[in-house]
Symmetry: C2
Subunit: 337 residues, 2 copies
């Protein structure tokens, strides 16, 4: 039996012995059918556009979710889903009877899957916010605050020409981080210059392209090129850095750089990347644990968990004055290979 209270210890022992002897392993499909509970969660991950899965963000999220599931004996099923999802696929996710709940890490503002989930009886947790669904459980970070901190830090280091490489404006996190950027500019007393805002898709490549456009400003635009860039993901910051170096400019002397994520690789890049840290693995873990909670205590209602972000200062955002000094300083060996 399954841990029932009303069983004599002796009987239980007798059963357990047999279990031991035959290595009995319950068939989860049968258990799922009978009990309406399989111990499996679905994890929906966007694919396609923007090479989302190539971003180290998702592996970390998956790892976190797995870490949240395993100790409670839940398993994770992976569902890659196209941004342009069909109703058929959605129904397949909702009614396949194989999972007890779903974690969705789509960031789209109007994701049909999220709508469907909201009208279903399947428990679900959203990772990366979703404004429309007030009553959904979700795990998120202070996206706007991150953008704000990045800008204020750059402004504090004397930068006055701060550009932004944003995430897709059709996503919640993309929009929020940009909102923080705008707010930070206002607080620092700096104006918003449209030519210094470019939309990326979180990928290295898109950061590279956006930065090239900024560097063109020198010739094409009256505003000139920016002396600092906030990128809404570390991958885009890496791309921006590649473009800056290719143009023969230096980070941080010519252009300071702040990213968002704090990927494991970011502390090892040259120069090490200043960034807004979000605890990706913890988010995945929290989402899984929240979903288990939701399953076991449906009466508690939807939960929201917002992780704080943290500015991690490294070399890529060094003070602007450095650029004037280092040019003639004899001891500035570190700036040459």
């Amino acid at each position: 039996l399954n841990g029932d209270e009303n069983v004599r210890a002796q009987t239980r022992q007798r059963v357990m012995d047999v279990v031991q002897e035959y290595h009995f392993q319950p068939n989860l499909a049968a258990r799922g059918l009978a009990a309406g509970r399989t111990g499996v969660f679905g994890l929906v991950i966007p694919t396609g556009v923007g090479a989302m899965f190539t971003d180290p963000f998702f592996p970390l999220l998956v790892q976190g979710a797995v870490a949240g599931c395993s100790p409670r004996d839940f398993s994770l099923m992976l569902w890659p889903v196209d941004p342009h999802i069909e109703q058929r696929t959605i129904r397949k996710i909702l009614y396949n009877g194989l999972v007890d709940g779903v974690i969705v890490s789509s960031f789209l503002l109007d994701d049909p899957l999220v709508d469907a989930l909201a009208h279903s009886h399947l428990p679900y947790v959203l990772v990366g916010g979703y404004p429309a669904s007030q009553n959904a459980s979700c795990v998120d970070v202070e996206n706007a605050q991150g953008g704000r901190l990045a800008v204020l830090h750059l402004a504090g280091n004397g930068r006055k020409r701060i550009a932004a490489i944003t995430g897709p404006q059709g996503t919640f996190v993309g929009k929020e981080r940009y909102r923080g950027y705008v707010q930070g500019l206002a607080e620092a007393g700096l104006g918003l210059e449209p030519d210094w805002v470019a939309e990326g898709n979180f990928s290295e490549e898109s950061g590279y392209t956006a930065m090239q456009v900024f560097l063109q400003c020198e010739k094409d635009s009256k505003c000139g090129r920016p002396d600092a860039v906030f990128a809404a993901s570390d991958a885009m910051a890496e791309g921006a850095q590649r473009a800056i170096q290719e143009a023969g400019l230096r980070v941080p002397e010519d252009v300071a750089l702040v990213g968002f994520d704090d990927l494991p690789t970011s502390s090892r890049s040259t120069p090490p990347l200043t960034t807004i840290r979000q605890p990706i693995m913890q988010e995945g873990k929290a989402a899984a644990e929240m979903l288990i909670d939701l399953l076991e205590h449906p009466e508690d209602g939807p939960q929201k968990l917002i992780f704080p972000v943290e500015l991690v200062v490294r070399e890529s955002s060094g003070p602007i004055d450095l650029s004037l000094l280092s040019k003639d300083e004899p001891g500035s060996m570190t700036h040459h290979r």
Copy 2:
């Protein structure tokens, strides 16, 4: 009904109409129980030591496996497994009745899970070779050939002091790539210097540490430091490069570098990394497709698929002569920031 031949078209149409109307979605748990087939595969991924999941290899493999499953309407369940796996966990994997087959990407030479799988009735595919199980289906690449190509390339560029940062020697791929290195040295007429061989665990960090040891050779060992390194993964090559740069040396002038994998990031590093390309996503896809084949045609017996590797020459392995030239060359701007 499920696509039976012996049904009148008219009856089928009548059924289909109802299906359409009510958005009928079969319960996969029930179908699995009744038909003994769920349409789900398990994907076993090693965790823990060596931060395996942090390596971009696994996300790519997962993505490939998903790509192989989706078009045939299979799903993937993710199972992270400790290297020190318990029998209980193994039985849980084998007899949970929730999956139709398993893809295992453990590389351990004597993995108890693989042994158990071999004695079970569950179809399975190994990714990354496994010598003991002659009769297992597996997907792999020419690991030894990769090590050999790397060494011959470095030797062809005039390097005579070629070190190796190997993968764990308790893993199949780690051993094979090292075997190729040894063979390459022999073919190039170079001797094997034990002080120039260090064992890593595929991670960036382990490459960094190993390279630091090599650089110590200059003082500690009579053999001096190597002028070239073959790393058995791109991540380790990146780590080696970090150590080289920190020591004030240059790639490729002072130390040439060849990796293994060809990760998306490797072509963008500075300098771009010469490496042995393996088609990671294709391996994952092939593994999934092979497993479907195994399931549908068990009579065909085990299959083996070995992908060729390819040497991708970039700047990190440049000819040795360059180091002498570039020191005085006026046009060598690219070697400074």
